[in-house]
Amino acid sequence: MASVVLGLIVPFCGVVLALPVVNEVHSDVMGIPFTFFWIFLWFPLTWLCLTLCWRMWDHKACQDEKGSEP
C-alpha cells in the first residue's frame, strides 16, 4: 500500500492535480515556460518514485514469489 502511495498517487498529484497551480506561474526557467519545466522535472522524479518503490518494498514481494530472479 505504501508502494501505491509513493509510486502512483504521488506522481498523479505532481503531474495532474498540481497543474492549475503550476499554470498560474508566469515566469520561465532558462527560457522554458514554467509549466513545461515542471513536467520535465517529473521525468526524473517519477523514475525516483518507482525506483524507491522497487528497492524498498516490491523487489521482496517479487523474490518471495519467484525465488530465483536477481
Binding site: 497543474l19 532558462m30 527560457g31 513536467i39 520535465f40 518507482l50 516490491d58 514469489e65
Partner: protein, 468 residues
C-alpha cells in the same frame, strides 16, 4: 544526399528484421506473436519504447503544439509519463493473467477469464476498429517524413509504399522483427531529436525562441484547456497499456520482475522531449509557413540541418511509423486468427487474416488521404475506444463479481457514447469525452454485473499466486 542516407537506413533495418529470427522457429504461433514469453529486460525495453514512441512523438507532438499551443504539449507529456506508474502496478498482473490463460491477445484474456465467446468477439472487433485512427496517425506522419526527402511523389504513392514496407517487416520474423529493428529506430530517433533540438537552441537561445514564439501562441493554458489537459492525462494514462499491441508486448516478458524493473526506467527515456519542445517552438518562432501543422518538426529540421543529417531525421521518423504499423498488423492478424476465425479451418483462417490486415491498412490509407487530421487528435480518438477495456481488465485482475454480460455491455455503451459525443462535437465542460464515456462504462459494467450475478465466481488474478 538526404534520400541516399534515408534509403541506407531503411535497407539496414529490413536486413535486421530478416536476421532477427535466426535460431528461432517462427512457424510456431506463440514464438511468432510473443517470442515464447522469453524477452529479458533489455530487449523488452526496446520493444516497448519502439512501439510507444511512434511517429506521433517526432512528427505529431510538435505539430500539436504548433496548432493548439501549450496545453497539447502538456497533456501529451503528462499521459505518457503517468502511464508508467500505472503500468508498474498493473502490467505484472496482466502478464500473470496472460500466463494463466495462455493468452497471446487481449481477447484471449477475456475469453480465458470469462469463458464467453460473445465477449471475446466484442473485444476483438472494437480492438481492430479503434486501431484504425492509430494506423492513420502513422500514415499521416509517414507522408510528412517522406515529403521532406524532396521526391515530389503524390501522397497516395507514398502511403502505399509505406504500407508495403510495414508488411515486409512482419512477414520476416513476427514480433522479433519490431523488437530488433527498434534498436536502430530508437537510436536514429533520439539522435534526430537531439540534433534538431540542439540546432534550434544554438541558432537562437532558448529564451529568444520562446519569447518569439509567445507572439504567436499563449504560454499558459486557459481554464478550458486546463480541464481538457488534466482529464486527458488521466484518461489516456489509464488506457495506455490496454492497446492490444501494448498488452501483447507485456506477454513477451519472461517474468513479472522483468516487467516491473523495466517499468521503473521508462520515465528517463522521456528526457528527449525537452529537445523536441524546443524544435516545436522554433517552428512557431520562425513563423515557418506550413500547409499543415503536422509539418512543424520536419519544417524546422529542413530549415536547420544539412541534407545528410536530414536523411537521418527522415529515416528515424519513417522507421518509427513503419515499426508501429508492423506491430499493429501483427496484433490485428493475431486477433483475427485466434479470436474471430478460430472455428474455421487453417487455410480459411490464414486467408481471412490477410484480408483483414490489408483492409485495415487500406482504410487507414484512405482516411489519411481524404480526411487530413491533426495527428494528436487521432491519438485522442484511438483512446476513446481502447480505454473502454479498463473496467473489464480491472474485473479480471481484482473482482469476483464482474460478469461477462456487464463487461460486454459496458464496452459497447462506452464505445457508442464516445463515438456519438465525438461525431456531434459535444462539449461537456471541456472534459475529455472518453473519460465521460468511461465513467458511464464503469456504471454499466458494475451495475449489470450486480444485477446479473450468478452462482459462478471468477477468481481474480491478483489473488492467484504467480504460477511460475
Amino acid at each position: 544526399m538526404t534520400a541516399l542516407v534515408f534509403s541506407v537506413f531503411i535497407l539496414l533495418s529490413l536486413i535486421v528484421a530478416y536476421v532477427a529470427k535466426s535460431g528461432h522457429n517462427v512457424e510456431k504461433l506463440d514464438e511468432y506473436l510473443v517470442a515464447g514469453r522469453s524477452f529479458g529486460g533489455f530487449i523488452l525495453f526496446f520493444l516497448a519504447v519502439g512501439e510507444i514512441y511512434s511517429i506521433g512523438t517526432m512528427i505529431g507532438f510538435p505539430g500539436g503544439i504548433y496548432a493548439k499551443g501549450i496545453s497539447y504539449g502538456i497533456w501529451f507529456l503528462g499521459y505518457i509519463l503517468l502511464a508508467y506508474p500505472v503500468g508498474y502496478f498493473l502490467n505484472p498482473l496482466i502478464w500473470r493473467a496472460g500466463k494463466k490463460y495462455g493468452a497471446l491477445t487481449v481477447p484471449d484474456l477475456f475469453r480465458g477469464h470469462f469463458s464467453s465467446r460473445s465477449l471475446e468477439l466484442i473485444v476483438a472487433i472494437t480492438g481492430v476498429v479503434f486501431l484504425i485512427p492509430w494506423g492513420q496517425l502513422q500514415f499521416t506522419g509517414l507522408v510528412v517524413a517522406l515529403n521532406s526527402l524532396g521526391w515530389h511523389l503524390p501522397a497516395s504513392i507514398m502511403v502505399l509504399v509505406a504500407g508495403l514496407l510495414a508488411f515486409l517487416y512482419i512477414i520476416a520474423s513476427g514480433v522479433r522483427a519490431p523488437a530488433f529493428v527498434s534498436i536502430i529506430k530508437d537510436t536514429l530517433m533520439i539522435l534526430a531529436i537531439i540534433i534538431a533540438g540542439v540546432a534550434a537552441a544554438s541558432s537562437h537561445s532558448t529564451a529568444r525562441i520562446f519569447s518569439a514564439a509567445a507572439q504567436h501562441t499563449h504560454m499558459t493554458m486557459t481554464g478550458g484547456e486546463e480541464v481538457f489537459a488534466m482529464t486527458t492525462i488521466v484518461f489516456q494514462a489509464l488506457g495506455f497499456y490496454l492497446f492490444p499491441f501494448a498488452t501483447q508486448y507485456i506477454f513477451t516478458a519472461k517474468s513479472e520482475t522483468t516487467i516491473k524493473r523495466t517499468q521503473t526506467v521508462m520515465p528517463l527515456y522521456m528526457l528527449m522531449y525537452p529537445f523536441l519542445v524546443v524544435a516545436a517552438y522554433y517552428a512557431l518562432a520562425q513563423n515557418l509557413h506550413l500547409s499543415s501543422p503536422n509539418q512543424a518538426f520536419m519544417a524546422a529540421a529542413v530549415a536547420l540541418l544539412p541534407n545528410w543529417v536530414l536523411g537521418i531525421v527522415a529515416a528515424g521518423a519513417a522507421l518509427s511509423g513503419l515499426l508501429v504499423l508492423a506491430g499493429i498488423s501483427l496484433t490485428i492478424g493475431s486477433m483475427v486468427s485466434r479470436n474471430l476465425t478460430n472455428q474455421l479451418n487453417e487455410s480459411t483462417q490464414r486467408r481471412w487474416t490477410q484480408v483483414v490486415i490489408v483492409l485495415y491498412l487500406l482504410i487507414s490509407i484512405v482516411l489519411t488521404l481524404f480526411t487530413p487530421t491533426l495527428m494528436l487528435t487521432l491519438i485522442n480518438t484511438a483512446y476513446y475506444g481502447v480505454t473502454q477495456f479498463l473496467p473489464g481488465v480491472l474485473g479480471i485482475l481484482f473482482s469476483r463479481r464482474v460478469t461477462p454480460t456487464g463487461v460486454g455491455a459496458g464496452i459497447l455503451v462506452g464505445d457508442v457514447l464516445a463515438i456519438l459525443l465525438y461525431l456531434t462535437q459535444t462539449d461537456i465542460g471541456h472534459i475529455n469525452i472518453g473519460l465521460i464515456s468511461l465513467v458511464v462504462n464503469f456504471i454499466v459494467t458494475y451495475g449489470l454485473s450486480y444485477l446479473s450475478r450468478s452462482h459462478r465466481q471468477y477468481m481474480p488474478i491478483a489473488h492467484v499466486n504467480d504460477p511460475a
